[in-house]
Amino acid sequence: MTKIKTFFSTLLKKEGTKTVITSLWCALLGLILGFLLLLFINAKEAAYGMTSVLGNYLIFSNPQDRLNYFGQTLAKTAPLIAMSLSILVCYKAGLFNIGGSGQYSIAVIVITFLGIGANMPWYLTMIVAMIASMLWAMITGALKAFFNVNEVISGIMLNWIALYITNGILSTNSIVWDSPHSEAFTISTTSNSYIPSIGLDKLFANNSIVGLGMILILVVVVIIFILFKKTTLGYELKTTGLNSDAASYAGMNKVKNVLIATAISGALAGLAASLNLQNGFTSWRLSSTPVDIGFQGISSAFLGGLHPIGVIFSSYFIVHISEGGSMITDLGFSPEVASIMTSLIIYLSGFVFFIKELLRRHEIKLEFAKATRGKEGQA
């Protein structure tokens, strides 16, 4: 019995457990506030609307439909995980990657041309896309490293520049552009650039968007986990992030680390684009603001406690409620309700640091009290 008790008390003291608990609290509170908003908009349908948001594929009664939409939710989670990792890598190195949208859309250009125009093998399309967005992200890195330009501002500017470049290049090329629908052609499942589904589609009622991509992203998660846990490079990036002066004093090259961090995160944003477009589900649409996924990545990276494993769950959660949100339009709610919920959750997760700090101070006080009591006993 005492064993279990000590097990739980050590578990509670662990940093990871605290992160999980506070993240869950934020999610719950965000959902409750979102529900209040639904009540305000349409009190009669609010409960059903909330059930759809939370239930997503579960609201279907036909098991085949359920499986199908479950597969779709999972497949859409993969790119968001990649984007979250992109935010995470930069954040660990002390940089805030707000330019994910721009990096993503640069990769979209490459994927659309290589996939639709050249019908290249999927892995080549993916690799070239990752390189393109890596180079784009390194503009931010280079501006930061050599000219001290704040990465948030340059990231935002590059988002808009990339948006207009992407709109401009794709919409004026009839090979890749489906003018009547004002969107690019979608990579078909028979294309060479389609990421093979290696039989996984069979598990999800023949939903062809489920495939190798999902396994690929898990491998990438593990790589990023190992990078920060076991490698010198990861250690250097983290140290630069914690205290760049101390890092340079310890002989770490700050310029190099900033460039490497932005390069990795750019490549990951490119991977997000690749996982999103190369499964034959969607394509680039004309957009007048930078794409959402870059900002959703920020949300899920922080909700996942900035931990590679954590972002798997937070990304799934965000996609789950967004997909659920897109199902409530027929109730007269707009799908942006889900976006309200996620942004509320992120707003609330800003408070997490404060709560953790309080817990830490409380613990120190307790330990201090224990220690002084011990001394008195000795005397």
């Binding site: 501002i153 007048s288 900002f295 007269g332 942006e336 309700v337 976006s339 309200i340 700090e357």
Partner: protein
């Protein structure tokens, strides 16, 4: 002549939007809180004003309704900015994260509620685009009585504020206190300046100013699609603030340079020389951002920003 005059009025309106919003950001950043949520505050101010514009019956005299709309925009955005203040000043949250969240939140809330307002039998989901032609007529008058040249008189308020803001920042005790809280909060604290209170006021001012900027932005048109938020103007204002080096007059000049390029993207087809170049319209859309990035390269080396911006002030840890 008409083309030239309407170009000028476009230009001045852009200058005014960017100046007023960047001034707001200046109060916030000078006091030590990063003003990333300007975009969100603009959107929210514009949204609150639109709700009033939508609901006000046309029987109310235009003078009074205009005043109501202006007040709602300012107060709405001011209240919204307090969300940033509470999280970042009292609860010491990561300012970039909270700013980003607030930007997404205000667009999402506006879209959901505007769609709700515009729902009809025929259009059960509603439309995120709101039309307010009546108020467009109220806020925009014919310049010198010339037909076809519209002039938004809200920008007169903005230009009147420029010297006032300059004086407040440099010549008043509040302005000095504000800067001291952003430069060295513990020193300010030791002199008896209430750091967190000063910062709250700074953030609140940023909201009030951004609200006016948001209203001016949307009333340059007769309708606005809230799905685009404030169309990135809040971010542009932030960039203007940085390359204006947090100084009122430089910010004003920066807004001017930037607006020149922004105006170009609107009017280039009517300039023969530019139209003949045959460049894509997307190039002109991207141009202001490219120029901004280049200017930042030259102005960022010497970091002139408030030294403690982005760092929450904690009495206990600075003891």
């Amino acid at each position: 002549m008409i083309v030239l005059l309407s170009t000028l009025s476009f230009l001045l309106a852009f200058v005014a939007v960017l100046t007023i919003t960047a001034f707001g950001g200046m109060f916030s950043e000078k006091s030590g809180t990063i003003a990333l949520s300007l975009e969100g505050c603009m959107t929210f101010g514009a949204f609150s004003a639109s709700v009033v514009m939508f609901l006000l019956p046309s029987s109310i005299p235009s003078g009074i309704s205009a005043l109501l709309v202006i007040l709602t925009a300012i107060i709405g955005a001011g209240l919204y900015s307090l969300l940033l203040a509470v999280a970042c000043i009292t609860f010491k949250a990561n300012q970039t994260l909270v700013g980003t969240a607030l930007n997404i939140l205000s667009t999402a809330v506006s879209v959901v509620l505007i769609k709700q307002m515009t729902r009809t039998e025929a259009l059960p989901v509603g439309n995120s685009r709101l039309n307010f032609t009546r108020f467009y007529e109220i806020f925009n008058v014919d310049l010198f009585g010339i037909q076809g040249v519209k002039f938004n008189w809200l920008l007169l308020i903005v230009f009147a504020l420029v010297p006032i803001v300059y004086l407040v920042i440099y010549k008043t005790r509040y302005g000095w206190r504000l800067s001291s809280c952003g430069e060295n909060p513990s020193c300010a604290d030791s002199l008896g300046i209430p750091v967190n209170k000063t910062r709250y006021i700074g953030v609140l001012l940023s909201g009030l100013f951004a609200g006016l900027g948001g209203l001016l932005l949307i009333t340059m048109n007769a309708e606005w699609d809230f799905a685009n938020g404030a169309n990135g103007f809040g971010y542009l204002a932030l960039a203007v603030l940085i390359f204006g080096q947090w100084k009122p007059l430089y910010v004003f000049l920066g807004a001017f340079v930037f607006s020149l390029f922004k105006t170009l993207s609107v009017i280039y087809p009517s300039i023969d020389f530019l139209a003949n170049l045959g460049l894509s319209s997307y190039f002109y859309l991207a141009l202001p951002y490219i120029v901004c990035l280049i200017v930042l390269v030259f102005t960022s080396k010497k970091n002139a920003g408030p030294k403690a911006a982005g760092q929450p002030y904690d009495k206990e840890s600075s003891r």
